[in-house]
């Protein structure tokens, strides 16, 4: 087993923390530094659009570890200072505050940042939701808002819509797809989601993209659709997906292309690895580059990176997995649910809103979706999907 003299992890969220923890658990005793741009100790993001936004959890409940557990990690935790540039040859990260952090091995785990609309910056009443501070700021305004417009019909937009309805806010959800999450789930499940949102009072304004925001002075008043129609709102959330935080790496010489491009070992260059949302790596079983933005991947990829840093030389070939909770629906998605896949309900009944569906392409299972049947979905995953066998 090779042992680096020092490891620096740029990014102190789920992937960064998991890398550091896995290194220690696997016996790494050298210097370890965790650099985070936010002032907060590492916290979990999935609860932000749900429990934290709803006010069911105090923000501390989303912290990934207690202070004692973090202390026991024996890592230098540098918070509130972002990575600003990377010198690949000298393996040194320069930070916003002027630090120069050199290490034998560097892990890039800087995540993603929300996409925004032109003219959004500086406009009051427009929010994104990525960080804990974003969630708290949105919650504060939601509590005195009558009409919320959510721009974006993906996982985040749909979850925020459900949470906001729970707070009694009028919600309009706008996006270009036929139903929320249509691209990820295909028609069966996304049509059911549309029904669920309708029943719960979310007004769906789908099938048209949003061209831009409307404003009165510096306060947002709504958004203009590609059809020319204007949707009025007191508050707007823009949930149009995210882009990898690689700006700081542009002069590094690393290959960037919708993320940090890595080999099958999640290695971007000698002694430099990437993990989590920012990493685009070669999935050997899929035979293509893949970048996953989900919580499970942040942890699993971090474990793979830690093992490879310590000499394991193993390809990272996960079965992708994500979940989403909206109103009373808990969805589990294992594998890749290609939009053109053939879908068979293998357990339960969609009419009862409790079922498992298997997705097949060319006669081979590529994914499993569970709707309020998490355990059964996992069992079907074990039966139908082999490791890395999402194709």
């Amino acid at each position: 087993m090779s042992t680096p003299a020092g490891v620096l992890v740029a990014g102190a969220s789920a992937a960064g923390l998991a890398t550091a923890e896995a290194l220690r658990r696997k016996g790494y005793t050298g210097e370890l530094t965790l650099l985070g741009d936010e002032p907060h100790v590492p916290y979990d993001r999935p609860p932000l659009s749900k429990q934290v936004l709803a006010g069911a959890w105090q923000p501390e409940r989303a912290h990934l570890r207690t202070r004692e557990v973090l202390d026991a990690l024996d890592a230098e935790l540098l918070l509130g200072d972002a990575a600003a540039s990377l010198d690949v040859e000298n393996r040194t990260v320069h930070t916003e505050s002027g630090r120069a952090l050199a290490a034998d091995t560097i892990v890039l785990a800087t995540g993603v940042r929300p996409r925004t609309l032109p003219g959004q910056d500086g406009l009051r009443g427009v929010h994104v939701l990525r960080s804990l501070d974003d969630a708290l700021a949105l919650r504060a305004e939601l509590l005195s808002t009558r009409r919320l417009l959510i721009v974006g019909d993906g996982v985040l937009g749909a979850e925020i819509a459900a949470t906001a309805r729970g707070l009694g806010v009028e919600v309009v959800l706008a996006g270009p797809q036929a139903a929320p999450l249509a691209a990820q789930l295909g028609p069966l499940a996304s049509d059911l989601l549309a029904e669920l949102h309708n029943e719960n009072g979310v007004k769906l304004r789908l099938g048209a993209g949003v061209d831009g925001l409307t404003a009165d002075g510096d306060r947002v008043t709504g958004a203009r659709l590609s059809t020319g129609e204007v949707l009025e709102a007191d508050l707007v959330v823009v949930a149009l997906g995210a882009v990898p935080c690689t700006d700081w790496l542009e002069d590094s010489g690393l290959v960037l292309g919708n993320g940090v491009v890595c080999d099958s070992r999640c290695r971007a260059a000698d002694g430099i690895y990437a993990a989590g949302d920012v990493a685009r790596w070669h999935h050997e079983h899929l035979g293509s580059l893949l970048r996953l933005e989900n919580r499970t991947n942040a942890t699993e990829q971090a474990l793979a990176v830690a093992a490879n840093i310590l000499g394991a030389d193993q390809p990272y070939t996960p079965i992708p997995y994500f979940w989403t909770d909206q109103f009373d629906a808990k969805l589990q998605i294992h594998g890749v649910l290609a939009a053109d896949a053939e879908v068979t309900v293998v357990e339960g009944d969609p009419a009862a809103r409790r079922f498992v569906a298997r997705y097949e392409r060319h006669g081979k299972a590529v994914g499993v979706l569970g709707w309020n049947m998490p355990k059964q979905a996992r069992l079907h995953r074990q039966q139908h999907l082999t490791t890395g066998g999402s194709r």
Binding site: A18, R25, P46, R295, T296, Y321, K375, A377, R378
Partner: protein, 65 residues
Amino acid sequence: MKITVDEDKCCGAGSCVLAAPDVFDQRDEDGVVMLLEAEPAEHLRTAVREAADVCPAAAISLSEA
């Protein structure tokens, strides 16, 4: 080693069952984690650690009993 689970945090991924099927299961009705062994035998230690690590909801805590 002693395991505690936070049922409220559990998202039903079942990652823990995949990693340590002798120690974890899921409830049939809602998929929430079920602890089969709160203080598992020594030979299960590695699998249990992995289960706690891969839990996407950080719902599993370990302590040295």
